[in-house]
């Protein structure tokens, strides 16, 4: 800006109430709050977050109330992994949540306004990711435990409880699984800058690919984010990855997507 501009602004700042210099932690809290307001004020993101819970629990009730006992009676039934069947549906909502929350910044150039308010892009992206991740994890854990306990309520004598080997681990892991799905989607949304693009990559990837590959064990398939992440839901997972290693592989996928998203946010013009 030219000299004549800075002179009046300097004199003006004396008359305008400007708060004392803030510490970094204060502005982090402020930006976190701002991002939370953004999430909860958007129908799409609130809706998909609610849908994570609603879809998973609804499908669980539907399936377990109808074919639950028959399936559980099956000789090669895997009661723990089976309990989380509906997570396949809930994860679609988790993906939508991560996608909408980020892609909303790319609608009508909203990002320009956001970055004008929070020009430190690392703070902006970090706060957004943290809020998304925390919200998805909270809802994910609630969903995971409710699904497990709710589904078992229909199984009578076949029911397993949280005391079943690996049950608590699977419930907690299920929550992290949903949160990581949301973050994977969020990172991709920041790279692709379009919700439709993310959904058309991730939905087929998580819904169709596992069916096509089927139970084909071994090979690269078990390192795909959803396959690896779901290892945590098995009582005694087969394949190369253990429960936590599997979730770790999924976390690496989500981390890579978030890193790519950070690169895009940092480097590109808003």
């Amino acid at each position: 800006m030219s000299t004549p501009t800075s002179t009046p602004s300097a004199s003006a700042s004396a008359s305008v109430s400007v708060s004392a210099p803030v510490s970094n932690s204060a502005s982090v809290t402020a930006v976190l709050r701002s991002e939370w307001i953004k999430v909860k004020s958007l129908r799409g993101s609130v809706g998909s977050l609610a849908a994570v819970f609603v879809a998973t629990v609804a499908v669980t009730v539907l399936v377990f109330a109808t074919v639950g006992r028959a399936e559980a009676d099956n000789a090669d039934a895997e009661p723990l992994f089976g309990a989380f069947y509906a997570l396949n549906f809930g994860q679609v909502a988790a993906i939508s949540f991560g996608t909408t929350a980020v892609s909303s910044e790319y609608v009508n150039g909203a990002l320009r306004v956001s970055l004008a308010a929070v020009p430190r892009r690392g703070l902006f992206y970090g706060a957004k990711t943290a809020v998304l991740g925390a919200a998805a994890l909270l809802v994910g854990l609630l969903t995971s435990f409710t699904t497990f306990l709710g589904g078992q309520a229909f199984l009578g004598e076949h029911a397993i409880g949280l005391g079943h080997p690996g049950a608590v681990r699977a419930c907690v892991g299920g929550g992290f699984y949903l949160a990581l799905m949301a973050l994977l989607a969020a990172g991709l949304a920041a790279v692709l800058r379009s919700g439709v693009a993310v959904l058309s990559v991730l939905i087929p990837f998580t819904l169709i690919v596992p069916f096509v590959i089927g139970d084909m064990a071994g090979g690269v398939a078990q390192f795909l984010p959803d396959r690896a992440g779901q290892q945590i839901l098995h009582e005694d997972p087969s394949g190369m990855l253990g429960p936590w290693a599997g979730l770790g592989v999924m976390a690496v996928w989500a981390g890579a997507a978030l890193a790519a998203g950070w690169w895009a946010v940092r480097r590109r013009d808003a």
């Binding site: 501009t5 305008v16 004020s41 909303s104 150039g109 480097r267 808003a270």
Partner: protein
């Protein structure tokens, strides 16, 4: 200037600091970028609340700027139901949120009805009177001329002018005076002797190019030519701007003028 786009070269500072180094920039600089730049599915109030929260501006201040921009009644409506003029007001409300000392407005009268244009003009001069710096970018010369004090003209990435408005108009237009007389023939003869031509305007007045009123008055008085009316004719900002850019025949229509009110 706000660090949204990566410059090919150079730096921009506001109040001596790069914009991105401000912790709570909305408290120092308010900007209206693009009226469309709000997510359509959010309500105006929520849009402002999210912005306010990031800079620790209170919710009460959000209601204040909604009031100031006349959006209180529609604050609970989703932005996609807004007209262009209402979005423009929302953008201005966002710019004023942090009570900033510097206000940057890009094409502020865009999409506003005549009432709105008067409103934004009064708002801008009001902000300037309070001691704030108001930087407006606009293509509308005549609208700009009604409120700007200082002018910065940019064309093709080059600075073409950076002067007070009055000086700019005076410097880029030829002086011209308008006169009414009972004896045009004698006035013409007097002026011709001094090397000035005189042409008749539609309303019975005469215009004299290249000379100021005081010169004509002096000549007419010396010769005893009766003058009924005599005034300098102010060139418009548009004319001055065209005169400036006419020097550069390559100049395209995509130039922008920036004014500081």
């Amino acid at each position: 200037m706000l660090g949204l786009d990566r410059p090919t070269s150079g730096t921009a500072t506001v109040g001596g600091r790069p914009y991105a180094t401000y912790d709570e920039p909305l408290r120092h600089v308010g900007a209206l970028l693009d009226a469309q730049a709000a997510h359509g599915s959010r309500t105006a109030r929520n849009h402002l609340l999210a912005l306010a929260a990031s800079n620790r501006v209170t919710a009460a201040r959000v209601d204040e700027v909604l009031e100031q921009t006349g959006l209180t009644a529609v604050a609970g409506r989703r932005v996609k139901t807004y007209s262009l003029g209402m979005r423009q007001r929302l953008g201005i409300a966002a710019a004023l949120l942090g009570d900033p000392a510097v206000v940057l407005l890009d094409e502020p009268s865009n999409g506003l009805d005549p009432e709105g244009i008067v409103w934004i003009r009064e708002l801008m001069t009001g902000l300037a009177r309070e001691g704030r710096t108001v930087l407006v970018s606009s293509h509308l010369m005549n609208e700009t001329a009604t409120f700007a004090d200082h002018l910065v003209v940019l064309g093709r990435g080059r600075l073409l002018a950076d002067t007070p408005m009055r000086e700019f108009i005076a410097g880029h237009s030829r002086p011209r005076a308008r006169a009414r007389t009972t004896d045009p023939a004698r006035l013409r003869a007097v002026l011709a002797r001094a090397g000035h031509g005189m042409t008749e305007a539609d309303d019975g007045r005469w215009t004299v190019d290249g000379v100021r009123a005081e010169e004509i008055g002096r000549l007419a008085a010396r010769e005893g030519v009766p003058i009924l009316e005599l005034a300098d004719e102010e060139a418009s900002l548009e004319e001055a701007y065209l005169a400036l850019t006419a020097d550069d025949t390559e100049f395209s229509a995509s130039s922008a003028a920036l004014q500081e009110a």
